[in-house]
Amino acid sequence: MLAIAFYILAAVTVVSGALVITARNPVHSVLFLILAFFSAAGLFVLMGAEFLAMLLVVVYVGAVAVLFLFVVMMLDVDFTKLRQGFANYLPIGMVVGILLLIELIMISSAVAQRGAAAGKSPQVYGAEMSNIEAIGRVLYTDYVYVFQAAGLVLLVAMIGAIVLTLQHRTYVKRQDIHTQVTRRRKDAVAIVKVKTGEGIKE
């Protein structure tokens, strides 16, 4: 049962990954990317890493992919033009891809034989604790200092984005509903006696 689920999810991931780069329509590419993320999240669930799966969906699908979709739809990017050099760059791309593949195989075989990071196996929390609980405990105890500091980094990023982009244009007329509603007749209308032939002075 687990094996069948794995093969289905893995196949969907690989196929949709391939479709991301081959699809003609960029919107389709982004949608395939989202599909790839979802099936990768499914793979994480199969491994028992439900927190990572959730993170993948929330961060990548929720934020990044939607952002991509916005950029693709909002900006007038000519994708056919971008695609023109495809055949020229294919050999270099293939070389890089094959190198990456070889590295991945080497790393995974090394990890399979000797385990990760300097022979130290990861610390295992008790079976009664879920992944999320374990991560939360570490995050809010051992790493509380850097966790809070990382929050400050995000705050700086937010302030920076506002400082550098928000502009108060004084010449733009905005609707002020309060003054509009509270306007009286005497504020707006003045009755002037106009002498014949002289007109109104400003």
């Binding site: 990071a117 509380v144 200092y145 850097v146 400050l152 302030i159 920076g160 400082v163």
Partner: protein, 477 residues
């Protein structure tokens, strides 16, 4: 250690973090009208944090990622004071420029938190987060005049090159973590002792490169002249002093705590960086026409001396680094304040030629700039001389005769361009009346000049033992 004592040791950071959040809310509610009171509040928070840091205890908390030792407290005190002065300088400067936004002092305070995380970092995560907190705020500050082409260029350049250096640093950190199996400096030291691997040295070199970018030492100095020229002057006054001091202390901590056993390897790297900095800082400055660009090259050369002090790898080297950095920070703060004080018809005096005949127009500022220039140059009896004196002392003790001589030669070359400023100010024909110098910029420049000559000689008798006791508890050994 329990949480109470941990929070107690992190009191300076806590004061800053809590007050900056409160001030931010206040500023957001009141808008730019409150820029003045936000600046005052941020300045007060920084001064309070400086006091807290000066009287802080010693200890290692938060799982070893936060170290409060003598060196950290010493560095923090001066970093906070420098940041507070920058807040004061920037307040008047941006008001005159009609760019009066309340976010600026808040960004300075946040970057001060980043700097103090850097000087207290006890593991690689705290190192990186602190550096990023400081850099991110710095990118925004560099681009604060977003309508100005040069200002935006400075911000963008700094951001792109800074991201590159962050990438290098992270690559180094991941290598170190991979080979040592821990982020903690002590654990890395133990692992390096037990099993020396090439990967560790590779990682270390990348970490050094990332930090050398932050202090603008030679092969990683590309951003310095452009950012100095384009960014608002108070921002440059900050960049030139405090973050470099923080990054140097951080580098000292990484090298002496985590990689003490690899001294032979990293000393070579630092000596190469120092020599290149001497060369580029000395020769590059000769052709400059812009005052701030000139100071950028001068700071590249001066970082060479700091690297030389670090390369010694002794307590004396760290002590020389502390004294040199503090004295240099005062000098640059003074020079940039003087530059802020000078303007003609509302346009800042930025070219060296525009300083021509300054002595006939504003005698007091001319004397201040002269004293500060001579001090940065390292002329005795000014304070800059003492900084270099300690650096050379440490270098000679470690047996780096050749490099000390190279440093001296660089000083002599650099003397040419400082003397050119002095000659232009005193002996050339004047270019007309200046605007009335703003009060705060003028007085910070005077005070820095007064510190550089008569006061430093007395202040050193207090600073020296302070630095000595600070270094004794370095890394809590």
């Amino acid at each position: 250690m329990d949480l109470t004592s941990a929070l107690h040791l992190a009191l300076p950071e806590l004061i800053l973090a809590v007050s900056v959040l409160g001030i931010l809310v206040y500023g957001a509610l009141r808008g730019d009208k409150a820029a003045g009171s936000v600046a005052a509040l941020c300045g007060a928070a920084l001064i309070a944090a400086a006091f807290a840091a000066a009287f802080n205890g010693h200890g290692k908390v938060f799982n070893g990622s936060f170290i409060a030792d003598g060196v950290a407290n010493f560095a923090k005190t001066f970093i906070y004071i420098a940041s507070a002065l920058v807040v004061v300088l920037a307040r008047g400067y941006f008001e005159r420029q009609n760019n009066n936004r309340f976010e600026f002092p808040i960004l300075v305070t946040l970057s001060a938190i980043g700097m103090s995380m850097m000087v207290s970092a006890g593991d690689l995560i705290a190192l990186y987060i602190g550096l990023e907190l400081n850099s991110l705020a710095a990118y925004v500050m560099a681009a604060f005049r977003r309508d100005d082409a040069k200002g935006s260029e400075a911000g963008l350049k700094y951001f792109v090159l800074g991201s590159l250096s962050s990438g290098l640093l992270l690559y180094g950190i991941s290598l170190v973590y991979g080979f040592a199996g821990s982020m903690n400096f002590d654990a890395i030291a133990a692992s390096a002792q037990a099993n020396m691997q090439v990967g560790l040295i590779f990682g270390l070199v990348f970490v050094i490169a990332g930090l050398a970018f932050k202090v603008s030492a030679a092969p990683f100095h590309m951003w310095t002249p452009d950012v100095y020229e384009g960014a608002p002057t108070p921002v440059v006054a900050l960049f030139a002093g405090a973050p470099k001091f923080a990054a140097l202390v951080l580098l000292a901590r990484v090298l002496n705590d985590a990689f003490a056993g690899l001294h032979d390897q990293w000393a070579q790297v630092l000596l190469a960086i120092a020599t290149l900095s001497f060369l580029i800082g000395g020769l590059g400055g000769l052709m400059q026409k812009d005052f701030k660009r000139l100071l950028a090259y001068s700071s590249i050369a001066n970082m060479g001396y700091a690297m030389l002090a670090l390369a010694a790898g002794t307590d004396k080297g760290v002590m020389a680094l502390l004294l040199f950095s503090v004295l240099y920070m005062v000098d640059t703060l003074g020079l940039f304040s003087a530059q802020i004080a000078l303007s003609r018809k509302g346009i800042a005096v930025s070219k060296i030629d525009d300083l021509s005949g300054l002595s006939k127009v504003d005698m007091k500022l001319t004397i201040a700039i002269t004293v500060l220039a001579l001090s940065v140059l390292g002329m005795p009896p000014f304070s800059g001389f003492w900084g270099k004196f300690f650096v050379f002392g440490a270098a000679l003790e470690a047996g780096y005769w050749g490099f000390a001589v190279a440093g001296l030669v660089a000083s002599v070359i650099a003397a040419f361009y400082y003397l050119r400023i002095i000659k232009v100010m005193w002996f050339d024909g004047d270019k007309g009346e200046l605007d009335k110098a703003p009060f705060e910029a003028k007085w910070i420049a005077y005070a820095a000049a007064a510190f550089a000559f008569p006061i430093a000689a007395f202040a050193l008798s207090g600073l020296y033992p302070l630095a000595e006791t600070a270094v004794k508890s370095f890394g809590l050994n």
